[in-house]
């Protein structure tokens, strides 16, 4: 703790400063776009980390959840003319209910079986988005109306950057509180020993559902914002590949380390851009880098920072 008077952690302060500094290096809209996508991915990955890293329940469908959330927001504004903010709210509520119902059968499974089940859900969502052409535009995707909040329409890149950055910081602050609370303790106990939890009166299934819903709602929010920001959404956003990317962000950054997911998201989003100059060797080098990082930093890239002193065990 830096000081008792500052209600935020050192890590959060450091990240906030970094996010303020980053725009000075963003020379053009393309750089901005990558930074914004990285921020939105960081939001989804942080939510996924709550589920995977802390509560120990894997999901291979978070890309699909984010994509589906984005589609719902886009369809409600595009086809039904609802204001964007209301569309997002409806998407969040719908996805929360969807996740809750889904969690009941699916989170009875553990380990590989849970991975397989979530994989299946993700693929089904992707197929539906591809085939419901009247609503979603099929494989070609659909364009999304521009975003407005109470008459204000963010049209320049820096405004979107600001929205995404503020959301990420807010989310991390809330997550820090969550993790260090009684609820967070229960979630962490799910990872270590579910028998321990139930022996002290914790309804395991209930809390698994709760964290699953939270995690899906966060993905929906970021997915919806992505749709509005890019003005276009395709089933690619909800693809299995995107889901895997998100899992890699969490694992590469550091499982069960809040800020690890942010670092992971930035690396996985930005790395391919750096590697484009390698042409056909791009994927090869990308894979090699990830293998290298995981071999030498099994606890994630965030473990590099541990030598500077961990202030909070779970952040």
């Amino acid at each position: 703790m830096m000081s008792k008077n500052i209600p935020i952690s050192k890590s959060l302060l450091l990240l906030s400063i970094t996010l303020v500094v980053i725009p000075f290096f963003l020379d053009n809209d393309f750089y901005y776009e990558i930074a914004i996508v990285a921020l939105l991915n960081a939001i989804i990955a942080s939510g996924l980390n709550l589920l995977m890293g802390y509560a120990g329940q894997i999901s291979l469908a978070h890309g699909a959840f984010a994509g589906l959330g984005g589609y719902i927001s886009a369809i409600l504004t595009g086809h039904y003319g609802l204001p964007p903010l209301l569309s997002i709210a409806i998407a969040l509520i719908f996805m929360a209910i969807f996740a809750f119902i889904l969690s009941k059968p699916i989170l009875k499974l553990t380990g590989h079986y849970l991975a397989m089940a979530t994989l299946g859900v993700g693929v089904i969502i992707n197929i539906i988005l591809n085939s419901e052409e009247d609503l979603t535009g099929g494989a070609d995707g659909m364009s999304v109306d521009s975003f407005t909040i109470f008459g204000f329409a963010p049209d320049s890149s820096w405004q979107w950057y600001l929205i995404a950055a503020i959301l990420l910081i807010a989310l991390l602050w809330l997550s820090e509180n969550l993790i260090n609370s009684p609820l967070g303790r229960i979630l962490r106990s799910l990872h270590d020993s579910q028998r321990a939890g139930s022996s002290v009166g914790i309804d395991i299934a209930h809390y698994k559902s709760i964290i699953f819903v939270i995690s899906v709602v966060i993905a929906t929010l970021a997915g919806s914002l992505y749709a509005f920001f890019s003005g276009f959404i395709s089933p690619q956003e909800a693809s299995f590949g995107h889901s895997i990317e998100l899992v890699v962000m969490v694992v590469l950054g550091g499982m069960g380390r809040l800020y690890g997911s942010v670092i992971g998201a930035f690396i996985i989003t930005i790395l391919p851009q750096f590697l484009t100059s390698f042409d056909e060797y791009q994927t090869l080098i990308y894979g090699a880098i990830i293998i290298f990082v995981m071999v030498f930093m099994p606890n994630g890239v965030i473990s590099l920072f541990d030598r500077f002193g961990k202030e909070k065990r779970y952040a």
């Binding site: 609370s181 106990s189 020993s193 321990a196 022996s199 002290v200």
Partner: protein, 270 residues
């Protein structure tokens, strides 16, 4: 502030357990076979028997981990057959495990706090914004958790991650975590297995303190000296069936028990 042994003072009216004709079959093996017994409130009731006698299966049936093929479990006159482990905690029944079930990535203190979590607010909005109530809860129960850890002298390990603690401390920690739920009845499944004599004595002391507080203990243990020392009543299991029951003296001198359990000889040599 003077803290009682328990976090919450309750007039202990409960803790009487009765099992009627419990049966559990795994494939062709009857792990527990038509087993009945009754535990009196505020006593230490030991269940002993050779390895594989079905003791742990019995505990798992009593605590809702396994469903009972037939028979019933009664707690203070209420049918609690197949009630889940977490629901039983709300009826004042808590258990520990033969094989450690401790959250390794949490500190000793947090493991105990986990036992208090059922009293604390877990409202998602309140915890996300860390309201005053959350902070107050945390402070209050941290104090109580440290007090409980102090009961068995492991409060100095409060801030150590459980995975870095020794087996003996973790065994004690599990009992302390169970105490955090303010149980009326605790099922201890081999609480001193693998502990050295000093640690065993400490656990035995704690059990004595608990019964003085009118908590009922069901003790499953192979350490005969401890069992004979602590229990008021002993039920002996063999091949899932009840072989004998009685006071420690009766059990010690029961020829059937000596034969099944020790293959002859006497308990004095154990």
């Amino acid at each position: 502030m003077e803290l009682s042994l328990f976090s919450i003072d309750l007039a202990r009216r409960r803790g009487m357990l009765e099992a009627k004709n419990l049966t559990k079959q795994f494939g062709g093996v009857k792990a527990v076979d038509d087993f009945s017994f009754k535990v009196k409130k505020g006593t230490v009731h030991a269940i002993i028997g050779p390895n594989g006698a079905g003791k742990t299966t019995l505990v798992n049936m009593l605590t809702g981990v396994y469903s009972c093929d037939s028979g019933s479990v009664w707690l203070d006159g209420a049918d609690v057959t197949n009630t889940s482990t977490d629901q039983l905690v709300y009826r004042g029944v808590c258990r520990t495990f033969q094989h450690l079930e401790v959250c390794g990535n949490m500190t000793a203190l947090e493991n105990v706090l986990l036992g208090f979590d059922r009293y604390m607010s877990k409202n998602i909005l309140k915890v996300s914004f860390r309201t005053k109530q959350i902070k107050d809860d945390e402070e209050r129960y941290t104090k109580r958790a440290l007090h409980l850890l102090g009961l068995i002298g492991i409060e100095k390990h409060a801030d150590t991650l459980a995975k870095n603690l020794s087996y003996g401390i973790l065994k004690k920690l599990e009992i302390i975590r169970a105490l955090a739920t303010s149980p009326e009845l605790i099922l201890l499944d081999e609480p001193v297995a693998g502990l050295n004599p000093k640690e065993t004595a400490e656990v035995a002391d704690l059990i004595r303190k608990l019964t003085a507080d009118d908590v009922t203990i069901i003790l499953i243990e192979h350490d005969m000296r401890m069992v004979m020392d602590l229990s008021e009543y002993i039920t002996v299991m063999n091949f899932g069936k009840k072989l004998a029951e009685g006071t420690p003296t009766e059990i010690k001198n029961n020829p059937d028990v000596i034969k099944a359990y020790l293959g002859g000889g006497s308990f004095e040599n154990v």
